[in-house]
């Protein structure tokens, strides 16, 4: 039997277009290093910490699946039992689920996005899901409105440039039920709320400071029905979730009888428990209180409604998704900074991690919240602040690295200055290159380059 009747699906994605300069065919998103560990490892370790050891990891693309599978079997050979499933590229999250849905057997399914970096226990979502008997429960966390706090000098400027994306999320007054959800693009002009839901609840709390962390608990039967019947659905977040929210109260909205069939399958899946409870409820109604705020709902046909619940993560928990380049550098910084417990490394007294095999030149300073992986060499008079430097990097003298991520096997020559940038693997920077807020992925970068700070974006050089 699966643990607590839950199965776990990790959607590791493929080569995401959002992160296109960073990820590639050779480096799928799941393996993108965050603090020198593939981002997927954060999810896997979170799940492992919750005793969830039987996982299904879905990867887009055969090649990517092989890479991911290879890495997992190497790193977690004896710790986790992972099945890696490859799905064609571009099918979307719903499509990915559709292709594996026939393998699911447990009562509920926990779906985790592979790019999630968090310390919210997945058990909490699962338990909330169970407690409410919900059809879907989603994890909401406070969205980084102005970016994760940045103590650096350039922080303020960075923040100003963040694309403003609002998620409009409607909750009931007890903040347990999800009544409305719309993401940035849809929010431009006005929000359309359903009168029916509003009537049932009486009061809706609309919040823009929450974001969907892409950690869902679904009732398996419902999920499978939707996947089967709505074959146009591409994405969980954009299609399935809004659909479920919309049809919370009645099947009339959809009009095609989907929900009624859904509730039918619900009924079949429900064990004796519900039968008894409902039976008893008819006899002795007051034994079971309508604790749900959707109390008017009970006046309607109870069978046709389902619940969409939320679990709102505590403010103190860290929760971020690696879905943009900005997020990538933010997460990198946070993981070795404020959310350092996630990194799994032990920090030195100076609050940084310097691998014993790293070599530092004279008068080189490595500030707090820095990370130097194994085999990296720094020349003299270098200064590293709030940055991650990968394996086997060779860094010359008089190099300043601030707020940046330097991946593996990077060579940086003397006199370079790098701020707020991401430098991918195998890049070579020649002397006195000045980079600000750039991503560099090419193999050879020679010219002295001084980019204006206002020029945020991707600099791709061949």
């Amino acid at each position: 039997m699966t643990r607590m009747d839950f199965e776990v699906v990790v959607l590791a994605g493929g080569a995401s277009s959002n992160l296109s300069p960073l990820v590639s065919q050779e480096l799928p998103k799941a393996l993108l290093p965050v603090a020198n560990r593939p981002v997927l490892s954060y999810v896997l370790e979170l799940l492992e910490g919750s005793n969830l050891k039987d996982l299904i990891v879905v990867v887009e693309g055969e090649d990517a699946a092989q890479l991911v599978g290879g890495w997992i079997s190497g790193a977690y050979a004896d710790r986790l039992h992972v099945e890696v499933a490859a799905v064609p590229e571009g099918v979307g999250t719903a499509g990915a689920l559709r292709s594996i849905s026939s393998y699911l057997t447990a009562n509920d399914v926990l779906i985790v996005s592979g790019d999630l970096v968090t310390d919210v226990p997945p058990g909490a979502i699962a338990a909330t899901h169970r407690r409410h008997g919900a059809v879907v429960t989603t994890l909401l966390c406070s969205s980084p409105v102005s970016g994760p706090s940045d103590s650096g000098t350039s922080g303020g400027k960075e923040k100003a440039k963040k694309p403003v994306r609002h998620n409009i999320i409607g909750l009931d007054p007890t903040r347990q039920y999800l009544l409305h959800m719309a993401t940035g693009a849809e929010v431009e002009k006005d929000i359309r709320l359903q009168k029916r839901i509003l009537q049932a609840v009486g009061q809706m709390e609309i919040r823009a400071d929450l974001m969907d962390a892409h950690l869902y608990a679904f009732k398996r039967t419902v999920l499978q029905d939707i996947l089967d019947q709505k074959d146009k659905f591409q994405s969980i977040r954009q299609d399935i979730l809004p659909y479920l929210i919309r049809t919370q109260l009645s099947s009339e909205v959809s009009g095609n009888g989907l929900v009624s069939s859904e509730s039918g399958s619900n009924k079949s899946a429900v064990q004796d428990e519900l039968r008894w409870l409902s039976q008893h409820r008819e006899i002795a109604p007051s034994t079971f209180q309508d604790s749900q705020p959707l109390s008017l709902k009970s006046q309607r046909d109870d069978q046709r409604s389902h619940k969409c619940c939320v679990y709102i993560a505590n403010e103190s928990k860290y929760c971020a998704r690696l879905n943009s380049i900005q997020a990538f550098s933010d997460i990198n910084r946070d993981v070795i900074g404020e959310a350092s417990h996630l990194s799994g490394y032990s920090f030195s007294a100076q609050n940084n991690i310097i691998h014993p095999s790293a070599e530092l030149g004279s008068k080189t300073t490595v500030g707090p919240q820095c990370m130097l992986a194994e085999g990296s060499k720094l020349g003299d008079k270098c200064s590293v602040k709030r940055s991650v430097i990968g394996r086997h990097c060779r860094i010359g003298s008089n190099v300043k690295i601030v707020n940046s991520v330097v991946m593996n096997h990077v060579t940086i020559d003397d006199g370079c200055s790098i701020q707020g940038s991401v430098i991918c693997s195998n890049v070579q920077l020649q002397e006195r290159v000045v980079l600000k807020d750039c991503q560099v992925i090419c193999h050879f970068f020679s010219v002295l380059y001084n980019l204006p700070t206002s020029w945020y974006g991707r600099k791709k050089c061949l």
Binding site: P121, A126, A127, R131, D272, L277, T287
Partner: protein
């Protein structure tokens, strides 16, 4: 001793306790005895040790006359009635009357050394001695039987006779002998309790009347005891209750036996005698400091056996730090105990509310041992989604049913045994979520009994099926059909034009009201509610929806609204074997007011919720709710008076969940076995099988 023994026709060898060692402990159900002051005198010269001194007050000998004298006496005249009364007696009586309304009984056993004369009883006693020759008798309403005698003069002879015959037989016999023992039940105005002083004044002669010495051994004991034995008290009470269970039939007569015991000073034979004897030897007449511990030990021994047999282990006492630590280590849920707890209720678990649920949720996948459905039920308990005796019980049973369904015996283990341990682990998990209700306890007992009774030869699948159908049957018969039967019974009590008052939310009361409405009866309902749960609103909403005519008020207005009520219908979490109704806090108040207004109180309770426990107050066993909710006044703007005070060390919040309604306030209990008056509950506790 020997001459006395034959007089005592001891029917029941068991030792019973009615209370704990400290003054409060000996309290019998207040109503029954509160003012019973009976004095008895018995004699025993120095040679014959007043057994009472050595005995713990918690030991009660068996009844001499069976139940006949017990029950009727309880309700009757609280004061002793002088049988061959003299004026002096009466004077004495008046003194005693002073503290009529106190309801605790204190037992003091005196022995010869004339130390510490107590001024309080001085008068009375001196009179005794003066009148010793008259050998008057106090009796209760039924002097022949219950009579407690004040033996003017002596002594063994008298005592032995008095036990049986009461009356004047003993009295006048031997005027020459010195006054030996005067025992007086005295109420002390200053103390909140009635005290029984048994004075053994061996050295007093008639002429010495005024000078009276009292060895106040036990009277002194209480003070130190109180300080050191909050735990011991409770444990003693537990044991008392356990013992009472063993002899609950006579529970109501407890005091009488108790008094007889002291008067007669005759140890019961058999088991009891054994337990008593050593103490007799030890603390002979000159008891100086009857050590509670030694007494307790003695009391414990015979009871220990009982416990092993059929009594569940005592509940966890949360003021015992070591045990709490131990339990915490084993606990599956991290529990943060609240800091500012009310002293009197420290033995009950009190956690910081709101910390348990997130913690438990976060551990969702880590709890190996717990079946998902049990886990879900636990979450519901914790979040308050499932509340109420019936609902909790049904939910638990259904979860167990599912767990049994999914259960498979691990290799090399026996089905029954392993399943029992599994179920026990589920139960301890549920207890961590919320203390068990009595109804659940009975259901668990039933289930375990069924598991134990499974024939060994039965195959696993058959056994599982049989258990599941047993659970179904239990739910069906004991709860659902029981409810229906109760409704049928209760509806007979509703007439047109009635105004029915109910308190809070009880499923069965709701069913009664709805059913009566469906029958076309014309009545009005007054729903009394109380903060913080405001459960009555749920009931109100449903009843209004059904078209019933309702009045809604809060318990503050109970004395006003009670004028209107014709009948009071109440639900109960449990009915205990002494007739005490254990129910949502506030019920006792409503019942008491109803009693004062002569409104009949009908308590509706399924028989599976009956429990053989005897509970005299709502302190020993109760449940503490979230203390913070009582601070919140919904809809009140200026409700922040206490904002920021919560962490103040001087503030202790108490939110009790249950209270105990004495059977005096209950006119009738409606069960699925019919309607019974509360006093009969004493017997019903045994008649109704739970399993």
């Amino acid at each position: 001793m020997d001459p006395r023994r034959p007089n005592r026709t001891v029917s029941d060898p068991k030792v019973r306790q009615v209370g704990f060692v400290t003054p409060a402990a000996t309290t019998p159900p207040p109503r029954s005895v509160s003012d019973a002051l009976v004095s008895s005198s018995s004699a025993a010269a120095a040679s014959s040790p007043p057994t009472g001194t050595s005995l713990s007050p918690v030991m009660i000998p068996p009844p001499r006359h069976g139940a006949s004298d017990g029950l009727p006496a309880r309700g009757t005249v609280p004061l002793a009635v002088p049988n061959s009364g003299s004026l002096l007696r009466r004077d004495n009586l008046q003194i005693l009357v002073g503290a009529h309304d106190h309801n605790e009984t204190e037992v003091v056993l005196g022995t010869p050394p004339m130390t510490s004369p107590s001024s309080r009883i001085h008068d009375g006693v001196s009179e005794f001695s003066d009148n010793a020759s008259m050998s008057p008798w106090y009796g209760r309403s039924d002097p022949d039987k219950l009579a407690s005698s004040l033996a003017g003069r002596n002594s063994e002879l008298m005592m032995s006779k008095s036990v049986g015959a009461g009356g004047g037989s003993g009295g006048g016999h031997t005027p020459k002998s010195p006054l030996t023992t005067a025992s007086v039940v005295k109420t002390l105005p200053g103390i909140s309790g009635t005290s029984i002083f048994i004075l053994n004044n061996l050295h007093l002669s008639e002429k010495q009347g005024g000078a009276l010495g009292i060895q106040n051994d036990l009277a002194e004991a209480p003070m130190p005891l109180k300080e050191k034995t909050t735990k011991a008290e409770r444990r003693a009470l537990q044991e008392a209750q356990r013992a009472a269970k063993a002899a609950a039939k006579e529970a109501g007569e407890a005091l009488i036996h108790f008094l007889e015991f002291y008067r007669g000073g005759v140890p019961a034979n058999t088991q009891q005698a054994k337990s008593v004897k050593p103490s007799q030897k030890k603390d002979a007449p000159q008891v100086t400091a009857p050590s509670v511990s030694s007494e307790k030990k003695i009391v414990d021994r015979p009871i220990e056996k009982d416990r092993k047999k059929d009594v569940p282990p005592p509940r966890m006492q949360f003021d015992d730090k070591h045990k709490v630590e131990k339990v915490k280590r084993r606990a599956m849920v991290n529990q943060f105990e609240a800091k500012n707890r009310v002293e009197l209720f420290r033995h009950l678990p009190q956690y910081i509310h709101g910390t348990q649920l997130p913690d438990l949720e976060a551990k969702f996948f880590q709890l190996d041992a717990v079946h998902p459905s049990v886990y879900k039920v636990g979450l519901h308990y914790l979040s308050g989604k499932i509340s109420g005796g019936n609902a909790r019980c049904i939910a638990m049973l259904l979860a167990f049913k599912e767990a049994i369904n999914d259960y498979s015996t691990p290799p090399e283990k026996a089905f029954g045994r392993d399943l029992t341990t599994k179920i026990s682990s589920y139960i301890s998990f549920l207890i961590e979520c919320r203390p068990l209700s009595i109804s659940m306890g009975n259901a668990i007992k039933f289930l375990k009994h069924r598991i134990a009774k499974l024939p060994l030869a039965m195959s696993e699948s058959d056994a599982k099926l049989s258990l599941q159908s047993d659970i179904d049957r239990f739910i069906n018969e004991k709860i659902e059909i029981a409810d229906k039967v109760i409704v049928r019974h209760a509806v007979a009590k509703i007439r047109d034009g009635d105004v029915l008052l109910t308190y809070g939310l009880s499923s069965v009361v709701e069913m009664i009201l709805v059913y009566a409405h469906e029958l076309g009866k014309d009545f009005r309902v007054v729903i009394v509610d109380s903060r913080p749960k405001l459960e009555g609103q749920v009931l109100l909403r449903r009843l209004i929806a059904k078209g019933l005519n309702c009045t809604y008020t809060h318990i503050n207005a109970i004395s006003y609204i009670m004028h209107e009520a014709k009948r009071v219908f109440l639900g109960a979490a449990s009915v205990l074997s002494n007739g005490t109704v254990y129910s949502r806090v506030g019920t006792a108040c409503v019942a008491m007011v109803a009693k004062a207004f002569n409104v009949p109180v009908l308590v509706c309770c399924e028989a599976y919720k009956f429990h053989e426990r005897v509970q005299l107050d709502s302190i020993c066993f109760n449940e503490l709710g979230d203390p913070d909710v009582i601070l919140k006044v919904p809809g009140h703007v200026a409700s922040n008076y206490l904002e920021g005070c919560v962490d103040n060390d001087n503030l202790q919040l108490l939110n009790l969940n249950y209270d105990a309604t004495p059977s005096d306030y209950v006119s009738m209990i409606i069960t699925d076995y019919g309607m019974v008056s509360c006093t009969l509950m004493l017997f019903y506790g045994y008649v109704f099988p739970y399993c």
